[in-house]
Amino acid sequence: MPDATVPAVEMRGIVKRFPGVLANDHVDLTVRAGEIHALLGENGAGKTTLMNILYGIYHPDEGEIFVKGQRVHIRSPRDAIRLGIGMVHQQFRLVPSHTVLENVVLGLPGNFFFPERAARRRVQEFAQQYGLHVDPDARIWQLSAGEQQRVEIIKALYRGADILILDEPTSMLTPREIEELMSIVRRMADEGHTVVFITHKLDEVFAVSDRVTVLRQGRVIATRETAHTDKRELARLMVGRDVLFRLEKHPVAIGSTALEVQDLHVRNDRGLPAVRGVSFSIAAGEILGIAGVAGNGQRELVEALAGLRPVEKGRVLLNGEDVTNRSPRALVQRGVCYVPGERIVGTVPNLSVAENLILKTYDQAPVCRGIFLDSRSVASHADSLIEQYAVATPSRETPLKLLSGGNIQRTILARETSGEPTLLMAAHPTSGLDVGATEYIRQVLLSQREKGTAILLVSEDLEEILQLSDRIAVMYNGELMGILPADQADLETIGMMMAGVHRTP
């Protein structure tokens, strides 16, 4: 058992500079042995940088690190592993075509022959001890995100980690998988492991942690016992101001039907039916929220409506016009705007903010004259959108990839909503964003609704769906389980529908 009086990790006065950014500004952090310590902060607050320093990926410019009371100099992840520190990154580092066992053992020294029996035995022990259930012979590509994460945790434990860093571990998981992860984390802490849990979600702090340290702009703002704080206080500490948890949603006169989808059938990348006979309509000035666990056909549905995926059967009507299987270009010209679920799809990271803002209007006046782009018009277009949507960027010429996730999403939203969209589709628009950016994005969606845009909102975040939608549909296994007016929807009903129970209105 760990000695409770000696902290598992103590970081003192850590400073880390990146070009133009002070990522960690004299950070002090104490993690007690055997506790679950949440590291809370918005994107760019310096949480991951701090933990990458502890794991030996980055080196602090200043500061001292003590592990189990000993002052140490961690020069690489190998040093960190030797000290009993393990880290599960947001992006998994597994070999997709290898099996679970092979990935667990990969890179360990001293194994000329594959230590299959020993590895299998220990993986099974972990499964029993912590609930880390995963088939040791499955290949990584066959596993869900949650299972892959378990493999990463097993990898760390296999290497003898008793201090485990989890970097935004829930960002790729379904609600059910999140539940399972939380219970695994708790069991590990019960067995004496120390866990650092990086997150920007307040709910998770309360669900799992013993103590929480809030970071903002590279500095430690406060450390609290989780039991002695509340959501409002943490949100204020994290954002630096009071955060509205209720958005103003004004009643809007519903207009004529903007989008009508009739008996739509779409296949996924593997050629299997993904959308199976979906019908619905959205009126101008209305938000239809589609809830459901990701992977139930939402993505294929939205892509088909954006012209990016062929419709196999059924019809799509836009303001009464049949636009089934029209090209993305034709749909863009008819005012179909789309905020994709993966930000990389909708942006060109190496091009400037200004160029990303004209991604869809580059061939239309005034940006384009004849065959030439009018650089002055591109610049003024960019400047006005940057101001209007408060995109925090050093300049319009800055490559988009240098912006934070929230500002990249603002840029996308600026581009997609600045015209007069007939139909706006937003998939997981706030996923991975911090509280401040989330609030802003949701306000933009509501103001679009007031301007009379028909909005299709796809989200896994039920709170978001309930907060924004006028009507709520639940998608399960490629079908709609029913459509409810928002005032009749409650978590329980929607939860049932998400699990595949039909409901007829």
Binding site: P19, V72, R75, R82, L83, I344, I358, I371, F372, L373
Partner: protein, 375 residues
């Protein structure tokens, strides 16, 4: 106790502008340094060798004119490749497109009667450009329609083009007046590109090459097609999302690079040799060397003007030292290979910064910590 400094790579968020220029310069210098070592092993004083290369290429009017002559096909093909590579379309077949351009020009020069003298050369350039473009569209269509990797297919089209030239000059097009050599007959005067004085600089082709560089730069930076090219090259998925036509963009850049390589082929047969001959006699691999020219220019069409002159100079200077210092004929390939290697390798420095780290003296290293725990 581990006391060696560690070298670490840290990803750069942004590439400073000066690095974009410094990297190719230092890459070339590094390549020259390695080659100097090899020269030393061969018993040749590298300083003397480099001096000879420099004077051979740039030190005399003759050398200079030869450098420009060799830069012409490199510039034409290099500009096209720079645009294609920007789109992440890896056309490795410029050599074949050049040969097809040469075949088409020869066909118009020798076998199409009834063209007025003043239109003979423009018709040959047109035919060469068209031929090169169509030839390049073979891998383009295979890539865009069937997702077949263009690196392999475009390379394979080189060998087909090369054998086609062989077939023609040994077979149907073999000139009766050529004493059994694998040549076609000599082009009539109206089908010969004029040169500057006694040099071999066929200046109309040079003007076309310079024009191509400037227009390609404007195309990429200032037009809507250029925007499509840059978006497609940086993120094809975003291009599709924005409603850009991937098929059309790939075909456009392949046709463009093929057309420019084809024009280079016209210049070689109509400006230098005045006849179609066996493939190696037309081009000593200009289409491949142009790949180096394009990368060395960091895929900037204007930069290609400079880098084609530099590599052209190396070809001329390399020839000079082969003769004068008795070096093997592979010397020029050595230069090409080394420079490409270092230019591609040097790209690393624009994306990463290198850090040297020395272990501290005052801190306990984890290795020692472990020992203490054990002890």
């Amino acid at each position: 106790m581990n006391s060696l400094p560690r070298i670490r790579l840290e990803k750069r968020l942004d590439t400073p502008r000066w690095l974009g220029i410094a990297t190719p310069v230092f890459s070339v210098l590094a390549a020259l340094l390695v080659i100097a070592l090899i020269f030393g092993l061969l018993g040749v004083n590298p300083l003397i060798a480099y001096a000879r290369i420099f004077t051979g290429a740039f030190g005399s009017l003759y050398g200079l004119s030869e450098t420009v002559t060799k830069a012409i096909p490199l510039m034409l093909a290099g500009v096209g490749l720079a645009v294609a590579f920007r789109t992440r379309v890896y056309n490795i077949g410029a050599e074949g497109q050049l040969l097809i351009g040469a075949i088409c020009a020869t066909g118009v020069a020798l076998f199409v009667p009834g063209i007025p003298d003043g239109l003979r050369l423009p018709a040959m350039f047109g035919a060469g450009a068209l031929g090169g473009a169509l030839w390049a569209l073979i891998p383009a269509v295979l890539k865009a329609r069937l997702r077949i990797d263009e690196v392999l297919t475009s390379l394979m089209t080189v060998y087909i083009a090369s054998e086609l030239v062989n077939h023609l000059v040994y077979g149907p097009w073999k000139g009766p007046g050529e004493w059994g050599f694998p040549y076609t007959d000599k082009f009539p005067l109206a089908a010969q590109i004029p040169r500057i004085g006694i040099t071999r600089v066929h200046y109309p082709t040079l003007i076309l090459a310079l024009l191509a560089a400037v227009l390609a730069y404007i195309l990429v930076q200032r037009t809507r097609w250029g925007f499509e090219i840059r978006v497609t090259g940086e993120n094809p998925e975003a291009a599709r999302y924005a409603g850009m036509n991937y098929l059309r963009t790939v075909m456009l850049v392949m046709a463009l690079s093929g057309a420019l390589a084809g024009i280079a082929g016209v210049g070689e047969v109509a400006g230098i040799h005045y006849r179609l001959r066996y493939p190696q006699g037309i081009s000593p691999g200009y289409g491949f060397t142009a790949i180096i020219v394009a990368w060395l220019a960091r895929l900037n069409p204007l930069g290609v003007i400079l880098t084609s002159l530099l590599i052209g100079g190396l070809l001329v200077g390399g020839d000079a030292i082969q003769l004068a210092m008795g070096l093997p004929s592979a010397t020029v390939y050595l230069f090409n290979g080394m420079i490409l290697l270092f230019v591609l390798g040097g790209d690393l420095f624009t994306r990463y910064r290198i850090r040297m780290e020395f272990p501290g003296r005052t801190v306990v290293t984890p290795v020692r910590l472990e020992q203490e725990e054990v002890g």
